[in-house]
Symmetry: C3
Subunit: 309 residues, 3 copies
């Protein structure tokens, strides 16, 4: 595989990457497994700024741990209320200030397009750690990495995305990324939470897509079951949320009809869409997924800072 240039690049949207580039990132991620255990000085003297304008403890800690594992350091904030935003500052100004303190910025923001805007203004690479309901590219990369690692390949698999496919930001990035591979995609959601039309249109040009509302029907065929939380905070209307919450519940009963080598993924946090009894089932991989997020983020930090080729 030829070496690709990532130094100085922003990681804003998974759509910016070719299949070759994604495979390259996954390969570098694999080489980070050992460094995740042993530590490294690869990024000594480098500073990551985690600018989280909405809380996401898991993602923030993952980025910070990735930076520390590579010998770098981290500064940042965990919530917009603690920031200059209270004083009315715009995002572009925040970026043009923080780029003076940090060598790379991981940005989480409630508004669509925030990461793209930040990347336009920033002199240092922007890693999109979730912006609005659109994109969460590092989550998609860790999902791909987990599938590749656990199933040995991505091509040829039947992959089901289940739950909130409308508001959940991780599934949009993931659907786009999966469309670069030879897979069959099953989209299972309540009617009111179906994947947005523009995502489906883009994806079904490349791979075959099946939409449905019934999880039991598809469970016997799928190789990867990707479950998402129906997120109350994304609903404009509480009554709408009440109608669909708890629609899907992955439990041992459901798994009776699943392939034994199927794997269950979840971007976490979960609430009750995966029963606790499933945690010790052979198919459960959602906690391993977290570890994989660490090595993928180590890879991205090392790549955009030019420490690996």
């Amino acid at each position: 595989m030829r070496s690709l240039e990532f130094k100085g690049r922003d990681i804003v949207s998974i759509e910016d990457f070719s299949r070759e580039e994604i495979n390259y990132i996954l390969n570098i991620s694999k080489s980070m497994e050992q460094l995740a255990s042993q530590g490294s000085n690869m990024l000594k003297g480098k500073i990551l700024a985690t600018l989280f304008f909405e809380p996401s403890t898991r993602t923030r800690l993952s980025f910070e741990a990735a930076m520390l594992k590579l010998g770098g350091a981290a500064i940042g904030f965990a919530e917009a209320e603690v920031t200059s935003v209270r004083k009315g500052e715009n995002l572009a100004d925040t970026i043009r200030a923080v780029e003076n303190y940090a060598d790379v910025i991981a940005l989480r923001h409630p508004l669509d397009g925030a990461a793209k805007l930040a990347a336009e203004f920033s002199k240092v690479p922007i890693l999109n750690a979730g912006s609005g309901s659109e994109e969460h590219p590092t989550q998609a990369l860790m999902d791909l990495y987990t599938i590749q690692k656990e199933k040995g390949r991505i091509d040829g698999l039947k992959i089901a995305l289940v739950g909130d496919l409308r508001y959940g930001r991780t599934v949009h990035s993931l659907a786009y990324a999966l469309s670069l591979y030879n897979i069959e995609l099953y989209l299972i959601s309540p009617e009111s939470l179906k994947m947005r039309k523009e995502v489906i249109h883009s994806v079904e040009k490349k791979i075959s897509v099946f939409e449905g509302t019934n999880l039991e029907d598809v469970i016997p065929q799928v190789d990867v079951l990707y479950v998402t939380r129906i997120q109350k905070e994304r609903f404009p209307d509480a009554a709408e949320y009440a109608k669909v919450k708890g629609t899907y519940k992955v439990d041992l009963k459901l798994l009776k009809n699943a392939k034994t080598d199927m794997i269950i993924l979840h971007p976490l946090p979960r609430v009750d869409e995966i029963s606790a009894e499933v945690d010790s089932a052979p198919q459960a991989r959602y906690f391993q997924q977290v570890r994989n997020g660490l090595v993928v983020r180590m890879a991205l930090l090392a790549l955009v800072l030019g420490a690996v080729k």
Copy 2:
């Protein structure tokens, strides 16, 4: 003294430790005094996660400073509102995510039993930094260390615990720990804030315990005066708090009847239970106690991570 194995152990409850083990920790703590001044690379490459589901700045900074002094790094959060808890995640899931990012976790949680639960799920050692109203083992260890350091011994001393003995979590851990030594324990509190029966029953099997409400009566005899704050936030009822606040006040007038080599401890923060005029009295040791907390936490981090034996 023989070497004891602490690598991989959780520090959940002071009751899990024998007198021999506690003495061992105190000895290792003593050996950390020099490293606290000079710094060390003992834990280079290791990461501590401070998961504080309720605020406790002093304890959090103490753990983080201890980790940094040993060459390690720290990530974490200072308050539950900023975390996935808002999204309804349970503690077990949080732990199973964070154990992928960190080599050791310091946990503060408002619920009784939280640290124990976390330890059951975690692959990395859990250090209980206070859970509910039950336990605060690292505080008890720093209290013992301070007594040992300042008085040269623990055995043979007369030790008074004063203030809120019911809700204050530090005094429960401390009473258990002291019961491993040959001491006389004085418990001085308002009637409504007496030490819980189960703690007294356990402790008085091993040492002699005197309960009372009047501090003046016992002050001439005691070697160690351990003062606690009557914590408004622990009271279910504001009227109950109003009745007892300000019951005890340690001032220079009170100290006239105290031994000159008595020492005064306090877990801090204090409000007005120790008068500012006492800060420069020869008996005051509550600020030195803070420094001792640092070395004790350095010792615990080094022990559970297997860096010292």
Copy 3:
């Protein structure tokens, strides 16, 4: 230039420093430019505590980045609500605890005199990162450094401070500092936001001061235009704020009458007192100013910790 002793000193008020001392700090700052790019181990093993009792993301991140660039580490909090202050602790006790964890403390506090009080109690150096409406000495130093760097000198310049000169804390520190140089000072503000009398009295003993309300009149003459935000949060009364907000607006039309080598500074964050179109004007220097803040804070940390002479 002779070497001056800064080890162990507090940086509380710009008024504590002579012109010689300020020039010395500016020189050391210059020598930090290279280390800001390359990193350094100068403060390896040292810990900075950032105690921010009111939020100021930019200043906090600047201090932390400065410490990390020099190989040190940082702990701290970003907001009073997360701290022992909730439990009623006083500032002196907080300082006497934290001085056990850190080698230097950067303090931000809403009350006038807080940094001074902290310095009286602290065994480690206190860096005032803004206290009340009085003082913000590191901001003043970075302003001076920016003027010196961009104009090659401070003496002989015509410098205008514009906007809220009453509540804005940066301009008080800056006015005092500028009065040590041979400059002409223009103070442009709404009547209700004029610089406080005691500041003017002190400053005009040393340099010539012109007060006015009209920016257009003075713009053709000035070499440095220092714009401040009219800060809603500093006004006791919202109606008073409504009257004066938006009084001054620096835009390209205004700049037509300015010198081409005039420079525009702003302590940031800005809201709308400098139009976005000005960002690419040749006079804009407010983002470079941020970078200069980093090197000035690196210099101060290195100086008070005795790492440079």
